[in-house]
Subunit: 339 residues, 4 copies
């Protein structure tokens, strides 16, 4: 639901009805949250459409802002320009569990995978939640990934949930944030949605809608800008993978406006897909037909991406509850400062 | 006309009727050859179609194999996925003259450029012909570039002509080489054509159809593999710029089979365009329609690129006449060894 | 001299003594400004050090934020990790004149270029000043480029000068802006400097230090975010070309904080060099020695780049004088709004 | 041991004493081979040096020739220019098991990982052995990966072993192949080694030292060029990650000379590391010292990479034994045709 009812207003474009990535028709999000002794982590799954993802792939692009990360599956997205699996997010050391979950889910639905046709490319994104979660214990299992996928729905929670359970952002409690924007081209209105896993930034650097909020709440000693952020973008506008790639490169604008300088140890990866012009795994014809926006019409989509990403960061901070990290330090919710 | 009537046969795919890049319908090539005192250089121009190139752009991709070169215009091709100018080739220090020629030609045909619409992106490729040509004298002028464009036709010469006049390849006389292949997908037959500017390799390394020809003709002292090569590829198959990019990355296969290890000082750039799915500068609709091959159908195009590029290298060597370099050394034609 | 004596303060790091790119020892900037009937353009040259640039190359990297541009020379910088020429900036259709100037200057100082050694790679960056300057007339000549290089000094003007003469940024008069920051690592203090050619953004989007300044001064109808920006970064910190590349990718943070969403038609290119660990063209030894910062120590450099770039944009706007464009519209200086 | 005692001789450079990647001092290879009912697969591990890989990282680069693959860990290698884990190879659906093995091994040796310092980046490469192995059954476990690492030694087998157990290459039995070359620069002699996992190509396309061997042994119907290939390169020459990257881009030359056109569905990834200039995880000084070859001296390394890779492909074919695939078809060893 993004950020609302506060003093901030992110950008100028109209928002979707939920102000979530699921405003893009067909997109669903499911999560599993693990909470217990030394365990504060989880899985978040994004399903690009309701059909068979392997047999009907979505055009897609990825962009690496800073590559200090262990996310997997991007190489094939870049080569083939499509996504053929759920997009899973989890902690750094649970990438393997998420891969296994995605494979199991995809193989169940497609008995031909690895038998009479080729393999399939799971897309798993990660951030390191090791300050709050005991990441070395690798709590996430294949079953958690399967459950997150099974939970996929249009409504989902933001904040300290799913993969975002143990994340920390701008010295505050981070996690899952989402927002959406509407872009009208001629007589058509399209939706752009963002979902972020936020785990980056130093407290003193936090900016909210241009306000140097972090300076007001940071005390003394500078921390370093560490951690990572994953940005998932979706649209129902007809774009080629090259055009989606152009959009992904605008995500950095939104992140930058929240104050970060993109830290050395940050894994910052952006993924974007369009639900239009799906590509069949088993094509009936050698030549496919498609419809695509002229590049001159992308301008407002670039603004939409910038706005969505900025708002999603702040939304993750507002929705995340206050927690205590592995060393007993309190990690505050931004909402505490807004009362 | 590629290589024919010799003992070699490059690959297995059928050739186009001319065995030249101009077998792709609409593609034309024009050249200007400069020859005189300390002057052995020129310009080669490739026109992707017969219409207004700025107003009807061709989908395109570029690939850098080794970036030791001064070719220009590739950045915008990568971002926008299209070419909107003639493709010019010349010597390294005449890139500026060729840019000027392209600009003049494009501005004459499009008075709106730089006035009521944006600018235009000339694509100029180069190799260093400084062993044979006195490159510091910058013999090529804007007018030569304009003349090369004006000379564009379906028939053109290979060998020591145009931009290839002063080039040296595998220790022999290099220059312009071209070839084409036919690829049938279902009931449609498409053409892939290549035109190369060859200026790379060491004599002892030359391989022709797997035959270690260079070892037989090289004498003693190893030279180093220096110089560059430009590869222009064209097709009338409907491909997206991503797919064209995949094709460009197969050009290295063809080059490698002629024996080079891709030298340190080599500028090796590949450009490919499709004449299908042209993109209007002034679109009538926000949403464009297109037709594209499924990636599963690209297999034979990858083979076609590999074969065309290999044959074009050897064709440039066979067609180039023997010349004497600036220091009085004879640079032999491969054809001398084939009598 | 960046932005000072105003209500804004960009970031937290200390500034260099001039608050200009020339705070990096050895770096000099020279400019030529052309002003007359339908002519408002020029050339800006950055010289990385005072020695022979070809024989002693500086480690360098380039990064393309949005590739709708005609800048040239980047391919070789990426392959070889160095710069061996002055960096020239001018208008889009004068790239060829600037190449010629750079070549003449480099060949005069290095008679071996193109004769007994290879060629040289001019680095020329551009923006389209066609709203104010009659760009089709190609006013800039080789001699102007040579004069800009000859004018190189530690002191230089910002605003509507040199290549910035006819530029337009956020609907205001843009041009040349510069700033610097100091970064202390252990007992060493290093300098990071930026010089920008600003020609991008829509008025309503302008943000200054988080303040939505553009909204206050924009009237009615939204313009689109068009035009381009060139970012040149310098440092005396010892960094490899990979590390310089990491820094270049932070320039987008600074640009984003001034409000742009990175427009469709924008050529946004970032170049960075270090004056340390220069690479000889004619090495005395096969193995070179170097010193480099550990990546953990890059954190504050990333912040410095972000801050410098943001301040340089605003500095270009503050220093540029009000001008009238080719169609008689006034293009205001930001300084008019600050009285 | 590469290819010896046959009629072929790959290239001109001298070979290392073993003609294996382990000729590079400190490099070791370990393997686990799984063979049984519907199970023909395994793991191959390459250890860049004998010390603590996480605390002393090796400079490295990766290059994607064709990105249809699921290998993981490359993003961080590209960003940081180093490798900090064993390099594991296995089948496509066992990437997760190999990640788990690498993590367990690294965490055991470095209790600070994920606790007081950041995470670690496992590098896992894969090919699809699904024609011979029942890949959907995911036979490989974390323990197999650990065992492969534990088996690391200077001597190792080539052919249908380790990750290569179930691979198929040029319609013949593929698997693991390795070779090495010596490069002398001044008074120093360096080693370049390659280890390949071969699983690509169509039988009719196979070329051996320029000989069209595949045409002689292929019968009738063309198969398509499918499958993948992983290339691991090592050297003890002092190179920066940029220079290692330049070397990786020459691997395609070696592959191309064995006849492939780089198929549509091929995951072709190249990794190279140098054992020199290791980078400490916990640096004692902010500024590190290094020694690096001048780029002019890379020429013979490019040739060495080309030669090693070509020979390694053929070596994998010669050493692999004849097997029967899941559908009862015999997959022949190349050695059968050489008797």
């Amino acid at each position: 639901m993004g950020v609302s009812g506060n003093r901030w207003n992110f950008g100028v474009l109209p928002k979707g009805s939920r102000n979530l990535i699921t405003d893009v028709p067909g997109v669903r999000v499911g999560q599993v949250t693990l909470s217990g002794e030394q365990m504060e982590t989880g899985v978040t799954a994004i399903l690009p459409h309701e059909g068979n993802l392997f047999r009907s792939k979505v055009p897609a692009a990825v962009h690496v802002i800073n590559g200090f990360g262990k996310s997997t599956g991007m190489m094939q997205v870049q080569e083939m320009g499509n996504i053929e699996s759920p997009i899973l997010m989890t902690n750094t050391f649970s990438v393997s569990a998420a891969i296994d979950g995605a494979l199991t889910w995809l193989m169940e639905r497609n008995p031909e995978i690895g038998d009479t046709t080729g393999t399939v490319n799971p897309l798993v994104m990660e951030c390191n939640d090791g300050t709050i979660n005991h990441i070395r214990m690798r709590h996430v299992t294949e079953e958690h990934a399967l459950q997150a996928i099974a939970n996929a729905a249009e409504d989902f929670e933001e904040g300290a949930v799913g993969a975002g359970r143990g994340m920390r952002c701008y010295g505050l409690k981070g996690g899952i944030g989402s927002a959406s924007r509407l872009v009208t081209v001629g007589e058509e209105t399209y939706t752009v949605g963002a979902l972020l896993l936020t785990n980056f930034g130093a407290k003193a650097d936090l900016m909210i809608c241009g306000e140097p909020f972090g300076k007001q709440i940071a005390s003394g000693e500078r921390e370093i800008d560490k951690g990572s952020v994953i940005v998932i973008l979706a649209t129902d506008a007809p774009m080629t993978c090259r055009q989606l790639g152009r959009c992904t490169r605008r995500a950095q604008n939104g992140l930058a406006r929240t104050g970060s300088h993109t830290g050395n140890g940050s894994g910052e990866v952006v993924v974007m897909f369009s639900t239009q012009n799906q590509i069949p795994h088993f094509p009936e014809e050698a030549v496919l037909e498609g419809k695509f926006l002229h590049d001159d019409k992308l301008e407002q989509f670039f603004k939409a991406v910038t706005e969505c990403v900025e708002e999603s960061v702040i939304s993750s901070l507002i929705h995340a509850e206050t927690m205590v990290d592995r060393r007993g330090n309190t990690v505050h919710s931004l909402s505490e400062y807004l009362k």
